[in-house]
Symmetry: C2
Subunit: 122 residues, 2 copies
Amino acid sequence: MKKVKKDKEGECEVLCINERKVASARKTMKSDATLFKLAEVFKVLGDPTRMKIVSALLQEELCVCDLTALIGASQSAVSHQLRVLRNMGLVKYRKDGRIAYYSLDDDHISSILTAGLKHVEE
Amino acid sequence: MKKVKKDKEGECEVLCINERKVASARKTMKSDATLFKLAEVFKVLGDPTRMKIVSALLQEELCVCDLTALIGASQSAVSHQLRVLRNMGLVKYRKDGRIAYYSLDDDHISSILTAGLKHVEE
DNA sequence: CCAATACATGAATACTTGATCATATATTAG
DNA sequence: CTAATATATGATCAAGTATTCATGTATTGG
């Protein structure tokens, strides 16, 4: 159901498409792969539990037990979501005995949240 | 299954929880409502189709038809996702006859993407 | 060594959600 | 008015996902 029509010469005659604007946008847009990765990062931040975890880690590293107490979820749920955050490279952790201390992986994450907050807080 | 124990005086004796760090984090963390809204915004940006739409609109307004051509999705899918973006206040639109021109709702959105890109592009 | 603690993880389930299909509305050309 | 165009939207459905439950691994105190 493409919005195009074949004319007598076999060429495409577009309808309402503004070719110039479309070409211009296509030129400056990031690659599909980059946009996909970007969407993945935002998707990971787009869950309340994970958002709470990340924002709790903004100041200092915390262990799983601290995080569980802080955000009001089960230890299992926190652990599962920490793995998601780890896999996306948003948090890292170090082990000290049987305690795992989690922290944010890089400084960009703080600025992502800050930028988002500006939109949320009007 | 709370990680707490009642002791003889009826008080809570925590296990590995670092009370000081937890209290400190709790103080500076945004409210649950704010974090929830923040997660919602990121969730909306966390879909490849919507991410493509938003990034296509970074430079100038585009009509639905342009967007459909640009991002390679059906008109219906684009329309549905535009509504999600509208409801979240990420895009706005104006009608000119039967054509709807969409644009980003505020400038923060660009900075959110920029911050995210810094993480994605290492 | 043994029990308790801290955390991780597989399975099952309920819930969410993005795409498609069909159709509706609105505008304009003829 | 009528047909075509541009967009919106409800319903359906398949795929994804967050939580819970049960259990596993690793570390440490006694």
